[in-house]
């Protein structure tokens, strides 16, 4: 007989509900903030939900040149991101510790990219091809920064399990606001590129000279598109969640507070990061493609600082 723990069940329910329902809201927040910055009223905050629901009821059209890769990618990427939502430390509230290995998390993200790129190449359109080509180029530049930020944190806590490294009772990381802050900023800059946001890619344009992510999903429609969009929203939640967790760890107050406040702060900080993406997109311009490596260099530089801090922490 398994003892039923009401609290655990409630926690689990809250967790699942959060990662299923929050992602479209984040995009709503980004769009609304951007609209306000442009002196528009903008679409309602819940518009992404309505969009998804509308897409679900539409009839699907696919290119006759596609293979099985095209439709399975939508399902595979959605499932991978759901698994990642359970594994990755994007919020302080995680009802079960499944052993979020650092390299597993990174490689699961890479696996979603593998499928996205292949599905972009599948229809044989010119758009999909160059979107895919740009995506792998950006990924190549960003990947070392992401892994080094996380590996530096892991190295200080002497484990590659992010669940342990990111828990608020890990003594080895308690007085490291510098490390946490720089890692958080580095990861945030890297996420801007990974999530195809402004300095790297303009998510609102369909101009072939500039787009990366939109070019890759041009052939998707209806439920397929809904799944792809939803997976992308989920990815926003996870990546922003990881960087916001880093930033929260940098503030000593959160180390000594209750679980409930922490959980609320996690959600709130993700929303704040989403709003700050909107602010960046309103005041900054999209960079020229050839200038992007310089932008990503900031993120890489921050990750290298993290490595230095980690090495000095473990001096013996």
């Amino acid at each position: 007989m398994i003892a039923i723990n009401t609290e655990a069940i409630l926690e689990t329910l809250a967790f699942v509900a959060t990662f299923l329902l929050l992602p479209p809201l984040l995009v709503g927040i980004i769009r609304k903030t951007k609209a306000r910055f442009q002196n528009r009223i903008g679409a309602p905050l819940l518009q992404p939900y309505f969009d998804l629901m509308k897409l679900m009821s539409k009839g699907e059209t696919i290119s006759k040149h596609t293979s099985w890769i095209f439709r399975s990618t939508a399902a595979i990427n959605a499932s991978l991101l759901i698994i990642l939502a359970f594994l990755a430390p994007w919020t302080s509230l995680r009802p079960f510790n499944l052993g979020a290995d650092l390299f597993l998390v990174i490689y699961l993200l890479a696996l979603t990219r593998f499928f996205t790129v292949l599905s972009a190449l599948d229809a044989g359109s010119a758009f999909g091809g160059f979107g895919a080509s740009r995506e792998v180029t950006l990924a190549l530049l960003v990947e070392p920064a992401v892994i080094l930020c996380l590996a530096a944190i892991g190295s200080v806590s002497q484990t590659s399990d992010l669940g342990i490294a990111f828990s608020f009772n890990n003594v080895s990381l308690i007085n490291q606001p510098g490390l946490w802050f720089i890692a958080g900023c580095g990861l945030f800059l890297a996420s801007l590129v990974e999530l195809s946001r402004m300095p790297a890619d303009d998510p609102t344009t369909h101009l072939e000279l500039t787009m990366v992510h939109e070019a890759m999903i041009l052939e998707n429609s209806a439920a397929n598109l809904a799944l792809v969009e939803y997976s992308h929203f989920l990815k926003i939640l996870i990546l922003l969640g990881i960087s916001s967790q880093c930033l929260l760890h940098a503030i000593p107050f959160f180390w000594h507070t209750s679980q409930l406040i922490l959980a609320l702060a996690s959600i709130l900080s993700i929303m704040i990061l989403a709003a700050s993406i909107a602010i960046i997109e309103s005041v900054a311009v999209k960079l020229r493609w050839t200038k992007l490596p310089e932008f990503i260099a900031y993120s890489v530089a921050m990750s290298i600082f993290c490595v230095f801090i980690a090495l000095s922490k473990n001096l013996n």
Binding site: F103, Y107, A110, G124, A126, V136, T137, E143, T290
Partner: protein, 668 residues
């Protein structure tokens, strides 16, 4: 030293495998065209399965035997030994040889000349015997003899299509590399023999001061034969050349055998030289970066795979380097992790690379080209090849839940744990930098293999031949397809049951680390199998309930063309354009140049012709090897002058040589 029935039967199995392959060789030599290819393939398969059986019987015990007592190589008898380290490699040989045997009949039947058929069978049998006996050799002399048999027969396989200039060049480059590596191995063996007075491989220890020379010689030899930077230049020439089925064995084992030698000598022989460790890590790192970068830029499918071998050999070499480093600092857990990473990645890479080469062979058979710019859209006509190549690509990019993810994870973990271990600060900094570099290499290999799969199999066909490609010669899947399926299943099986596989490798790890308490299954704590299962359930339920499976009416229409009307296939991304943005970033290393020529009256707005050309000059070949080859040319041209043709001058040479010998003989 045969002590119980199982060991005896294991030894017998290996001997009979060799005997069967030898019989095949005799039969094809005597019988010529009367012998059916199916029968020879059966012999090959039987030998492969016997090898596999022998490996299974002896997986955790070491057997020394001498069934070739009547043969001795002058100095020592041809002793054989099966120990825990050679067993995994024998197992790999068994699997790859079985796959090659399954794929052989349909390849041989497609050859038009009897000479080529005979050539294929004879060299394949000799190659397999050589490979097996190299792994079984117990002493240096036997090792060298069989190493030579293996090298020369594989050079023959590289030259299989010898009327082509390309194959001649490849065979020549490969022969040069094998000569250099054999020379260095011989020197290293002589050095160790001089130091220890024994020819037995297991009696050589590399912990002593004097042995550093031998260790360095071995490292050079292995780097040359495995294709590590900067000695890798022969590899992209030679790897694409062996005929389809044997390319599996060739690509999966030729490099790995030399890694096996390095493990047996330096890891099992307890090498304790920091310099060797640093050299291995440095060469391995450059090799990984260089290999994957050139693989990405390559437009020939098989050359792309060959460059990816350079990358993986580099990764394995870094792991071996860390293992030596950890031995030096007495960091036992890291040494165990590093050994496990090196060994497991070697085996996984062998398996996956064989699978990918078979896929490329299948593509080449169907389309008659390996040029990515003439492929495309093969997924429709070649579903099985596509699926297997896809699985292989997932695996070689180290995607979970495949087998290479587990071994790559072990490599990552090795460096990660070194970063907070009790080691000098510079080494810890190096190890974290290596984590970043490995991530970079990983992202590049993802780009490389999405290109390989995406450009070759997806999209629309870029040539007529690709549009009309036929997967197999018969109505159902034939041998070549079956061989790929076998290897793909092996990859998935290992990937989803890593703890079992690592438990199987535990005896070999104990041999490498000299630590009797190594437990294989705890090295890799990620429940990959369960994750794959959960993922599979999630994917299928989302596919069925959200996308609607097959029941939903999905309209099929043209690819989006912006309303311009049907796009020609020239509008598609090509292999070169896919990798061009990355090429631009590394244009200094790749020596990538683009020239654009626009002509016409008002050429800005109404160009009549646009011509864009990209050039890549391989920097190592032109800047390093061409001068060296020039030097050799000059030397040999100068030496010709000695050869005047006059008998008097030649008699003078003889006299001078005699004088020199007498002088040397009396003074030393």
């Amino acid at each position: 030293m045969i002590n119980d029935p199982t060991t005896l039967s294991a030894a017998n199995l290996f001997t009979s495998a060799s005997a069967i392959w030898l019989a095949g060789l005799v039969i094809i030599a005597v019988g010529r065209e009367r012998v059916k290819s199916n029968f020879l393939a059966f012999l090959m398969l039987a030998g492969a399965l016997l090898t596999l059986g022998g490996a299974a019987l002896s997986w955790n015990q070491s057997i020394e035997y001498n069934q070739l007592q009547y043969i001795s190589f002058g100095l020592v008898p041809a002793d054989s030994i099966v120990d825990s380290l050679s067993v995994p490699f024998l197992g790999l040989l068994g699997i790859l040889a079985s796959a090659a045997a399954v794929a052989s009949p349909c390849h041989v039947d497609s050859l038009n000349s009897q000479g080529k058929k005979g050539h294929y069978w004879k060299l394949t049998f000799i190659f397999l015997i050589g490979l097996q006996q190299v792994l079984l050799a117990a002493n240096g002399i036997a090792f060298l003899v069989f190493w030579e048999i293996m090298s020369l027969s594989s050079a023959g396989l590289v030259a299989a299509d010898h009327v082509r200039h390309r194959a001649q060049r490849a065979a020549f480059a490969y022969l040069t590399a094998t000569r250099i590596s054999t020379a260095f191995i011989t020197a290293a063996f002589l050095w160790m023999h001089q130091n220890t007075g024994s020819w037995s491989l297991s009696s050589w220890h590399f912990g002593t001061e004097q042995s550093i020379v031998a260790a360095a010689l071995l490292l050079i030899a292995v780097c040359t034969k495995a294709g590590v930077w900067p000695m890798h230049v022969w590899l992209p020439l030679a790897y694409p050349e062996p005929p389809g089925p044997t390319s599996a064995v060739f690509s999966g084992l030729v490099g790995n055998i030399s890694i096996y030698l390095l493990m047996r000598m330096l890891l099992a022989g307890e090498c304790h030289h920091l310099g060797i460790a640093y050299a291995a890590i440095a060469l391995g790192t450059i090799s990984a970066l260089w290999g994957v970068l050139f693989a990405l830029m390559e437009r020939d499918l098989k050359k792309l795979l060959a460059y990816s071998t350079v990358e993986n050999m580099g990764i394995i070499l870094t792991a071996i380097g860390v293992a030596i480093l950890a031995h030096c600092h007495n960091l036992d857990t890291i040494a165990t992790l590093a050994c496990a990473a090196a060994l497991f990645h070697t085996l996984n890479h062998g398996l996956v690379k064989a699978l990918l080469f078979l896929g490329a062979a299948s593509v080449e058979r169907a389309v008659h080209t390996r040029d990515l710019s003439a492929l495309g859209g093969l997924a429709k006509n070649m579903p099985w090849t596509m699926l297997c190549f896809f699985i292989g690509s997932l695996s070689i990019c180290a995607m979970p839940p495949m087998n290479c993810f587990a071994s790559k994870w072990l490599v990552y973990q090795t460096f990660f744990q070194l970063s907070f271990a009790n080691a000098p600060i510079l080494e810890r900094a190096m190890s974290l930098a290596m984590v970043g570099i490995l991530a970079f290499v990983g992202a590049l290999s993802l780009a490389c293999f999405t290109k390989a799969v995406g450009i070759a199999f997806l999209g629309r066909p870029r040539s007529n031949a690709a549009a009309k490609a036929k997967e197999s010669t018969t109505s159902g899947p034939d041998g070549l397809i079956l061989a790929q399926v076998i290897l793909a299943i092996a990859c998935v099986m290992i990937g989803t049951s890593v703890p079992i596989a690592l438990d199987g490798l535990a005896p070999a790890l104990r041999h490498l680390t000299h630590d009797q308490f190594v437990i294989g299954s705890t090295l890799f704590p990620i429940p990959q199998g369960q994750l794959a299962l959960v993922g599979g359930i999630l994917v299928s339920s989302i596919y069925l309930f959200v996308l609607g499976g097959r029941s939903v009416d999905v309209k099929s229409y043209i690819t989006w063309d912006c309303g311009f009307g049907p796009l020609s296939t020239r509008a598609e991304e090509t292999g070169s354009s896919f990798s061009h943005p990355i090429g631009r970033i590394f244009s200094q290393i790749l020596q990538l140049k683009v020239t654009t020529e626009i002509s016409g009256k008002d050429r800005r707005h109404f160009p009549e012709s646009v011509r864009v050309e990209t050039f890549m000059t391989p920097i190592l070949e032109t800047k390093l090897y061409r001068p060296i080859m020039g030097l050799f040319d000059w030397l040999s041209a100068s030496l010709v002058r000695l050869q005047t043709g006059s008998i008097h001058i030649h008699l003078l040479y003889v006299f001078l040589t005699m004088l020199l010998l007498v002088f040397l003989g009396t003074n030393i």
